[in-house]
Structures are given as structure tokens and as C-alpha cells.
Amino acid sequence: METIIFYILSGIIILFAVASVTSRKILRAVIYLLFVLIGIAGLYFLVDYNFLAAIQLTVYGGGIIVLFIFAVLLIHHVELELEKTALKKKLIAGALSASGLLVTLWAISTYPFPETTSTYTSIEVADIGRKLLSYEDGGFILPFEVISVLLVAVMIGAIVVAKGSKLSEDRSRKTEVGSQKSEDGSEKLTENN
């Protein structure tokens, strides 16, 4: 039963991934990407990582796809078709990625993976939480803190970048009022706007 579900899921994932990178309607490509991400969440459910599957569904299926759809709707018309890529470019890219895939598959099939000795137990969310916050050997407190600093930086950075012109307008006005020295700098800033 699980074997059949795995093959169905991998068929869905590969089919929609190909559709997502080849579709010329951009909104449809985003929706195909959503199906790929949901298929991967299904894989996580299949190996009993319920927490990761929930994260995958909320962060990817809920957050990132909505961001993509917002960006597409802000930038393009809904019915816009992307330009056709040149056949030569497609052939070169296809040959490159196919050869990379062949090398990877050869390396995987010749590598002797060790047999597992320990028994499989399903993972509780509490275990992941303790591991993330533990100070002991193999604990992940430092990367956890680094990730939280990074998320704050990205939040501020996204606001500053997306509203860039207005913020720098304010700054150039301030520098104009403040001193005459920075006149060159403020001119550059207004040119950028």
C-alpha cells in the first residue's frame, strides 16, 4: 500500500515539476509549483514526520505560493504568456541537466549505504523542540539564534528594499536641509529615484 502511494506521489511531483518549469502561462506555473510542494508534504507524511509536513504545508503552500501569486498579479497581466525560449538554449540546458542527473544517479547507485542498526521510532514535536534549544553536544541553539536574527534582518530588509525610493527620498531631503557638504550624495540619490 505504502509503495503504491509513494509511486503515485513521485509521479505527481515529477509531472507537475516539469509542467512548472515548462508552462508558458506564469500563473499556471505557480499553481503547478503548489502541487509539487503538496506532493512533498505527502512524502513527509509517509515517513511520519508530521511536524515537517505541517511546516511544509503552512510555509510553502500557505506563505511562499501566496507571495508568488501576489508578485505575479502585481507585475503581469493574468493572461500574459512568457516568451518562448530558444530551442538551442533548451537543448543545451536539457543536455547539461541530463548529464548532471546521470552522474548523480551513477554516484548514488554505486555508493554502498550502510544498513541501519537502530530501530525506527516516530519523532515527536517535543523532541525537535528540545533538540533546537539544547546547549549540550549536538544541540542546535546557536543556529537557532542565528536564524532568528536572520529573519529579523530579512523582514527589515524586505521593507526597506520594497519601499526603497520613498525612504531614500526622505533621506535625501534631510541631507539637503542638514548640510551643503552632502549635496552630491543627495543628487545621486534623487537620480536613482
Binding site: E2, T3, I14, A17, V18, S20, V21, T22, A29, V30, V36, L37, I40, L43, Y44, V47, Y49, F51, L52, I55, Q56, V59, L67, F68, F70, A71, V72, I75, L82, K90, I92, A93, L96, S97, A98, G100, L101, T104, L105, I108, S109, F113, P114, T116, S118, T119, Y120, I128, K131, L132, P143, L150, L151, V154, A158, I159, V161, A162, G164, S165
Partner: protein, 105 residues
């Protein structure tokens, strides 16, 4: 662990997904679709971490924690990249790769 499925089949699936992403990264000419291909690549690597953890070291948690970090980084990267793309669209009214020259020095 999935009954009846060996680790080789799963690694084959994730490598195919990875190289579909690489193909999209090479051929797409719109910045948003390039970003979508990067998402495919990141997802393939996160699945690899989780499944290798499950198959080889089922009593450890490293793979799960690493894929949580990968998902956080991917979300951060997407948010920032879409902010840059929208700002670029305000500057040059286009998000095609061949038109983006204003960010160069």
C-alpha cells in the same frame, strides 16, 4: 521508513526533482520563474536531508532540524527576492533577465 521502498529509489526521485529545477533555472527568462526553479532545488535538498536521516540514522534528529533551517532560509530568501523584483519593476517596468542592467555597477 516507507515499507517496500529502498533509499536508492527515493534519492533517484529527489535528484530528478533537483535537476528539473536546474533545467528551469537555465531556460527561464523571467525573474519570478527563475525564483520558482530555485524553490524546486531547495525543496529537493530538504527532502534529501529528511529521508537520509530516516533511512540511515532513525534515532537521530539532525536531518529534520537541518530541513527546518532550509525551509526558514528558503522563505526568507523568497521574501527578499520578491521585494527586490518588485522594486526593480518600479525602476525599469520589466522583470525579464535580459533587461535587468540597472543593478550592475
Amino acid at each position: 521508513m516507507i515499507a517496500g521502498i529502498s533509499i536508492y529509489e527515493i534519492l533517484t526521485l529527489t535528484s530528478i526533482l533537483f535537476f528539473i529545477g536546474v533545467y528551469g533555472f537555465f531556460t527561464r527568462e523571467n525573474l519570478i520563474t527563475v525564483l520558482m526553479s530555485v524553490e524546486l532545488i531547495l525543496n529537493a535538498s530538504a527532502v534529501n536531508f529528511v529521508l537520509i536521516n530516516t533511512y540511515l540514522y532513525p534515532d537521530l534528529l539532525q536531518g529534520a532540524v537541518f530541513s527546518i533551517f532550509i525551509i526558514a532560509l528558503a522563505a526568507a530568501e523568497t521574501a527578499l527576492a520578491i521585494a527586490i523584483i518588485i522594486n526593480l519593476y518600479k525602476l525599469i517596468y520589466s522583470v525579464e533577465v535580459k533587461d535587468t542592467e540597472t543593478m550592475k555597477y
